[in-house]
């Protein structure tokens, strides 16, 4: 049935030659697991585009609604947490896939003549992907989104001469707010997708004009070739399934919770960038004094310039890794630097003590007894009774809180707080949580 339909269409549209062009591309040295990274990246990009479109069904890019709509997606829409999880973990996965893809090209010397243009377009695609990550991070409008974007935009401000202008252009005004979120949204879902779609097509067009590089080992390359279809397509499909499985598993097992709603007045919040920016975040801690501002823009600029110029700096036509010690050594040095910085940064982040389970139970009790219908905690809830965001600064005394929960009026005469039916364990949990509400 399907093949008869295909025949019918083929008789009219003459698809056979097109099919041959697309699928019968010869791969020198035959299909290989080495060549799956580009396809995996493309697959993840498509997954991002797809899940992104579906997130847009409910998402509203405005400061007064963005957070609510993401909460709605996460907690109320059927399967919403999964779609958002796929998009979140897919963003990380696409960075890993790009990294591996670039490493393979770098190791195999596939960026060399005549493939310089393919490499350059690839580097631009990397920059666009990072821009996707940066603009997407703001959209949930939680504390992390707000403050991490604040820091990211300020870094752009260090660029000499045009820095101030760039900052204003990015924000759409003097402050990070309604105009910022709407332009970040437009960039994230409309401008960048169009630009990257053109870039990907160009990348693939060059690939088809120049042909795949094949193995760096010339004797292996000369043993023959096979067409892209069906074996390379099959290998690509297996990897795509594996990648999808991993992303789906992460989405299912590691929910990505929202932080508090963005609160521009809460300067106590310490934002953390996405892990793929962490090494740079860590590096900036080591830039001394006056070098700091310079490092924020000069290092990325040097990095991208270096990548773009790589095919012209490394003019040795030999692709065999064993005869390119300097280039590969430099690459290895860079990787060691990046991963050391990343691991130091992760160690520092995880050195923050894990939350006591009792505190988490206490937090749940606050929701259960609807405490926020009177009290405000970090921007959430109503300000009828005292704001509890930093209550432990004012009242660090554990006994006082225990007594207060048992019988509010006994320690706070005239208080209109009701007595809640709490058992001993709940009293302890709630007090443990309350005592964590302090600055610093």
């Amino acid at each position: 049935m399907a093949s008869r339909l295909y025949q019918w269409i083929d008789q009219r549209l003459k698809l056979k030659p097109l099919e041959q062009t697309l699928l019968d591309e010869p791969i020198p040295g035959g299909a290989s697991w080495n060549y799956v990274f580009g396809s995996a990246t493309l697959f993840l990009f498509v997954l991002q585009a797809l899940t992104g479109m579906f997130l847009m069904v409910y998402y509203v890019p405005a400061t007064d609604h963005a957070y609510d709509t993401v909460q709605y997606i996460q907690h109320e829409v059927w399967g919403g947490w999964f779609v958002r999880g796929l998009h979140h973990w897919g963003a990380s996965a696409v960075m890993v896939a790009i990294g591996l893809h670039m490493l393979q090209v770098f190791f195999d010397g596939a960026y060399k003549r005549p493939r310089e243009l393919m490499w350059i377009v690839g580097v631009i695609l990397l920059a666009i992907m990072l821009a996707f990550g940066f603009t997407g991070y703001l959209l949930p409008w939680d504390q992390n989104a707000y403050w991490a974007t604040q820091v990211g935009i300020n870094m752009v401000g260090n660029v000499p001469l045009i820095g101030d202008f760039l900052v204003k252009a990015l924000r759409g005004g003097e402050t990070l707010g309604a105009l910022t979120i709407s332009r970040f949204f437009a960039i994230h879902v409309a401008f960048l997708p169009v630009i990257i779609a053109v870039g990907i097509m160009l990348h693939l067009f060059i690939l088809r004009r120049v042909g795949p590089a094949g193995p760096h080992d010339e004797t292996r390359a000369k043993t023959g070739s096979e067409t892209f279809y069906p074996r390379q397509v099959f290998l690509d499909a297996v990897v795509m399934l594996g990648v999808f499985g991993v992303v789906a598993l992460l989405a299912i097992s590691m929910e990505f919770p929202l932080a508090d709603r963005a609160d521009p007045s809460d300067h106590s919040f310490v934002p953390v960038p996405e892990w793929y920016f962490l090494f740079f975040y860590q590096l900036l801690k080591y830039a001394p004094g006056a070098w700091g501002p310079l490092a924020t823009w000069l290092l990325p600029a040097l990095f991208f310039t270096g990548l773009l110029l790589l095919p012209f700096l490394d003019r040795n036509p030999n692709r065999n890794p064993s005869s390119r010690p300097i280039v590969l050594g430099t690459g290895l040095g860079f990787l060691i630097l990046v991963f050391s910085l990343l691991s130091i940064s992760l160690r520092d982040l995880y050195a923050v003590p894990k939350r006591d389970p009792s505190v988490i139970r206490g937090m749940a009790l606050v929701e259960h007894f609807n405490c926020k219908t009177c009290h405000r905690i970090h921007g959430e809830g109503v300000n009828v009774a005292p704001d509890l965001s930093f209550v432990a600064d004012r009242r660090p005394d554990r006994e006082w809180h225990l007594q207060h929960f048992k019988d509010p009026q006994s320690v706070s005469p005239g208080s209109f707080m009701p007595k809640f039916p709490l058992n001993e364990k709940q009293l302890n949990d709630l007090t443990n949580y309350i005592l964590t509400l302090k600055s610093g």
Binding site: G29, F54, T69, Y72, W78, P230, F234, A237, L241
Partner: protein
């Protein structure tokens, strides 16, 4: 040519082709199910019906229709809104109260009470009902729709529902 360096043919080729189709379908289905469900689910969600108190029944006159406000909190996706609907309550001599939906079962207009003729009249297409909701004239296919109601501690509690118009039977939307 050594194995692996030539394009596969025959059963080997068809193995790769079939496996690729199988894998693509697997990924496709595992994505399609959650994504379609995600879009459709809120559309299939039933409205959360709650009993809303319209006030004390003592205040209602016996045998006289009274327009009452039904105010409900509606969850509209991620927003909550308060909407008010006017419903008709008629207290019977035995103390029971009948509550009519304010929507004419013919084509969904709002009808009024004509005090002089003691009839409910719909201005759109001329349907006429008596105080019990029975059709007296016009194109209406069924009597006025009664809403679920009960009396608790003297309070009149009502659940707001909507029904398909134009049918001889009362079918909830």
């Amino acid at each position: 040519m050594e194995d692996g360096l030539s394009t596969p043919v025959g059963t080997r080729r068809s193995f790769f082709v079939k496996s690729t189709v199988f894998i693509s379908s697997l990924i496709g289905i595992s994505l399609a199910v959650p994504l379609i469900g995600y879009v459709i689910a809120p559309a299939l969600q039933r409205r959360n019906k709650e009993w809303v108190s319209l006030g004390k029944t003592e205040a209602l006159p016996i045998g006289e229709p009274k327009a009452m406000d039904y105010t409900m909190t509606e969850k509209d996706g991620w927003q909550e809104s308060h909407t008010t609907k006017g419903v008709w309550a008629v207290k019977q001599s035995n103390g029971e109260v009948t509550v009519f939906s304010p929507i004419c079962p013919h084509l969904g207009c709002g009808y009024r009470w004509d005090q002089q003729d003691r009839l409910f009249k719909c201005p759109c297409h001329g349907s006429v009902y008596d105080i019990n909701g029975t059709v007296k004239a016009g194109p209406a296919p069924r009597p006025l729709d009664t809403l679920p109601s009960k009396i608790e501690n003297g309070d009149l509690l009502v659940q707001y529902e909507e029904y398909k118009s134009g049918l001889a039977k009362k079918v909830e939307l």
